[in-house]
């Protein structure tokens, strides 16, 4: 059961990474990178590092997406494909 959970988490992290690289809109890409970070924080929890999991969930994926969204707004890219 736990094995399956770990495999699902690894798959979700890699899926988020692949989406962040291949998808055409910048908005979707940055949110996918944040999702990969969020699943990574679950992985940290399984690895016995709750401190790192908290930091990754709050800083890496939370505030990270936040500043990406403001930068997207400042550069006039509303997430439509390849501007």
């Amino acid at each position: 059961m736990l094995d399956l959970f770990i495999l699902v988490i690894c798959g979700a992290i890699l899926l988020g990474g692949i989406l962040a690289v291949t998808v055409s809109g910048t908005l979707v890409a940055s949110v996918s990178a944040g999702a990969a970070g969020l699943f990574a924080s679950l992985g940290f929890l399984l690895l016995g590092a709750p401190d790192v999991a908290m930091a990754e969930a709050a800083i890496g994926s939370g505030l990270g997406i936040f500043i990406f969204l403001y930068a997207l707004k400042k550069t006039g890219q509303s997430g439509r494909a390849d501007e």
Partner: protein, 120 residues
């Protein structure tokens, strides 16, 4: 299920994320997409760092009433380094995004080609 231990699986995942991130950095022309790639590399490095400190059947390095001091713990040094790495990664991303915004204001585009070609 499969015979691989947890830490090996997560090291493989982290390495995959690092390769994916560098792929984004090398193959995209949009600066913001490159920065997304760098943040992926960041996450991947943190995963590899923590996973390489995992000890078989280890628990979190926090002692309380339920945990005896002779239990098996995960390496706390790797966790401490990973916390530092995540915070510094956020600062680097913020810096990179600020420069991207500034370049956009100067050139009106985010394409890397516009900053190197045609300078004369």
């Amino acid at each position: 299920m499969i015979g691989l231990p947890v830490s090996t699986l997560l090291i493989a995942t982290g390495c995959g994320l690092i390769v994916l991130g560098f792929a984004a950095v090398l193959l995209h022309r949009n600066i913001l997409r490159m920065i997304v790639g760098f943040s992926l590399v960041d996450t991947g490095v943190a995963i590899v760092l923590v996973a390489s400190g995992y000890v078989k059947d280890g628990t979190a390095p926090i002692l309380d009433a339920d945990v005896t001091p002779d239990a098996v713990f995960v390496d706390p040094v790797n966790s401490a380094l990973a916390v530092t790495a995540i915070v510094i990664g956020f600062s680097v991303t913020a810096m990179a995004l600020a420069y991207a915004v500034r370049l956009y204001r100067l050139h009106g585009t985010l394409d890397v080609g516009a900053f190197t070609e045609g300078r004369g």
